[in-house]
């Protein structure tokens, strides 16, 4: 059996006196396209950079593609990373970057990479500084995919792209996941995009892990319950209440359903991923405000 693409146990990272990430334990299953969501400063970048071996954890353990991050060619060959800044050599052409990838990666797939860039109409002979943001992101993604990693980590790669460039980018990504032995962890704020392309979700908020599960399971497990104004105590006993919205006339509860029964009188409805994520993110914020 091959090792899981990503496993972490009690992972934490402290910068100075503040914890950017704390006590983070999760697994990402094989061949998944996993979304990493969370507000600004939730610890997404910190997590991705530790997984990529660029920074060291303060506490805990992690394994990517069955190996602990290390300055070791075998680990590096298995893990691809695309940083938020989409770093490329500005004065080089895309063609130069292809040669760069070919020289630095033993499993480099030049033909497929060239093909990928041609399909999205990237001029290979033009300097990077003369390309649009979307084109740069495509070059960087092609470079990351070209080394044929087992795990690809992407830090908000579509944040700066227009809808069309975003569609092309995610199209390239999903095609690659379908064709190859690849697992992707992708952070983004664009929940609609993520819901469309991803099958797994990791949710961070304020440096803590809140959810890590299959998206279909998450959606199936969460419901919105509404009723004319009434108490929620009984509900909270049997189910995991995430968010309560109370008006004088009505109370609306978003909850992860437990095994217990639901009292009569609640109107149960399905809920979309976006609403679920917002409920989780909003919850920690209001908690923080309350604790101050």
């Amino acid at each position: 059996m091959t090792a899981l693409p990503i496993t972490t146990t009690g992972l934490g990272k402290r910068f100075g006196r503040t914890w950017a990430l704390r006590d983070c334990t999760f697994e990402v299953p094989e061949h998944s396209l996993c979304a990493l969501v969370g507000g600004n400063g939730a610890g997404k970048t910190t997590l991705l950079r530790m997984l990529a071996g660029l920074s060291r954890p303060t506490t805990g353990e992690l394994e990517v593609a069955g190996r602990r991050p290390a300055d070791d060619p075998a680990f590096l060959a298995d893990v691809g990373f695309l940083a938020q800044e989409i770093p490329l050599y500005r004065r080089w052409t895309a063609e130069d970057h292809l040669a760069f990838g070919a020289h630095l990666n033993p499993r480099w797939d030049g033909a497929a990479t060239r093909d990928r860039l041609r399909r999205v109409n990237i001029p290979l002979e033009r300097r990077i500084e003369a390309l649009s943001g979307g084109m740069r992101a495509q070059v960087a993604l092609a470079l990351a995919l070209g080394k044929r990693p087992r795990v690809l980590l992407l830090d908000e790669p579509v944040a700066a792209l227009d809808p069309l460039a975003r569609r092309d980018f995610l199209g390239t990504l999903t095609a690659a996941v379908a064709d190859e032995d690849l697992t992707v962890l992708l952070s983004s704020h664009l929940l609609a995009d993520l819901e469309r392309v991803c099958d797994h979700l990791v949710l961070l908020s304020a440096g803590h892990l809140h959810l890590c599960a299959d998206i279909e399971e998450i959606v199936a497990a969460h419901k919105v319950l509404t009723a004319p104004a009434r108490e929620t105590a009984a509900l909270e006993r049997d189910h995991h209440v995430i968010h309560v919205d109370r008006t004088p006339r009505q109370v609306s509860v978003l909850a992860r359903m437990g095994i217990g029964p639901i009292e009569d009188g609640w109107h149960v409805e399905d809920v979309g991923l976006e609403e679920i994520v917002l409920a989780y993110l909003g919850r920690t914020e209001s908690r923080e405000v309350a604790s101050r």
Partner: protein, 307 residues
């Protein structure tokens, strides 16, 4: 990795190579001309040198300006090599390919230091060759400025400057502060060694002269300093005040004679010409050792610190 480094540094190499080539042409033309002119006048006695040095003032100034080459290399090769990568985050790109950070750094440092030795060595060879006429005329190559731009020392300074630029950029991670530290640090260390350490590589020799006799500079020596001693052998500090015994002197000449008779004398301290090469080796050794230390510190920071 070699291809990557070539692609990355080829512009720098081309620019530096072009500057070196232009300099080489200038040196070849004026150097040969000067040697030729020198042949024509070398037997005319006292006239030697004066006309020659004056008519080659411009190329000589250019040659002397090569004292700034090390710090330029420190900025454009040393500081730029790390700071530009970190500022554009391309180090993150390089460190997530299948090549270890250690190998990336070793190859990069090796390449940059090799370029440094090539450029600085070429420059020093040209300057040394060009200066051969001046050297045989006046033999000032042991004196401060000439010592710094001929033979080994400029190459060692360049290695030091590049290592300093690299370490500063590795620690500070930004171009401008790294450049500031490179320039400031380089001049501070260079001046300190030149003024306070180099004179003590060996004990100076001394030559004693009568008070009003001309002091003679031994050929090819480095004159470190002169001091005035009174009749008891104590150093006279500040301006010479007329000793009591000579206050009665009626005119300047008799006063001079009176003071001389009291035993006042001038002592010059110098390093003789045959110490030139030992001093070059010591100086180069110190700066190469400093460079090695800085490279080690910078490399440790790059390898240990989170990207």
């Amino acid at each position: 990795m070699t291809w990557v480094l070539w692609r990355q540094h080829r512009t720098q190499v081309a620019v530096l190579g072009a500057i070196l080539a232009v300099f080489a042409v200038l040196m070849a033309i004026t150097g040969n001309q000067m040697a030729h002119d020198y042949e024509a006048i070398r037997h005319c006695g006292d006239c030697r040198g004066f006309g020659l040095t004056r008519s080659y003032n411009l190329p000589r100034t250019v040659v002397n300006l090569s004292v700034g080459v090390p710090v330029l290399l420190g900025v454009f090769l040393g500081a730029a090599m790390m700071a530009r990568e970190v500022e554009q985050a391309t180090n993150v790109l390089a460190w997530t390919q299948s090549v270890t950070r250690r190998r990336w750094l070793a190859t990069k440092l090796g390449t940059v230091l090799l370029i440094t030795v090539a450029i600085a060595g070429g420059m020093a060879a040209l300057v040394t060759w060009w200066s051969r006429t001046m050297n045989s005329l006046q033999d000032y190559r042991f004196e401060a400025l000439q010592f710094d731009i001929q033979n080994l020392s400029p190459v060692a300074y360049s290695l030091f400057a590049v290592a300093l630029g690299f370490a500063a950029a590795a620690i500070l991670r930004r171009m401008l502060p790294a450049v500031g530290v490179t320039v400031g640090g380089f001049f501070a260390v260079r001046l300190f060694i030149e003024l306070s350490v180099r004179p003590h590589y060996a004990a100076t020799r001394h030559a004693t002269f009568a008070l009003f006799a001309p002091t003679v500079r031994p050929r090819g020596a480095w004159m470190v300093g002169t001091k005035l001693l009174d009749g008891n052998g104590d150093v006279v500090r500040g301006p010479l005040r007329m000793p009591a015994a000579c206050r009665a002197a009626v005119d300047r000449l008799s006063a001079d004679q009176c003071v001389s008779k009291l035993g006042y004398k001038v002592v010059s301290s110098f390093h003789p010409a045959d110490r030139y090469w030992p001093f070059q080796w010591i100086e180069a050794g110190i700066f190469v050792a400093l460079a090695a230390l800085l490279v080690a510190v910078g490399a440790m920071v790059v390898l240990r610190r989170d990207a």
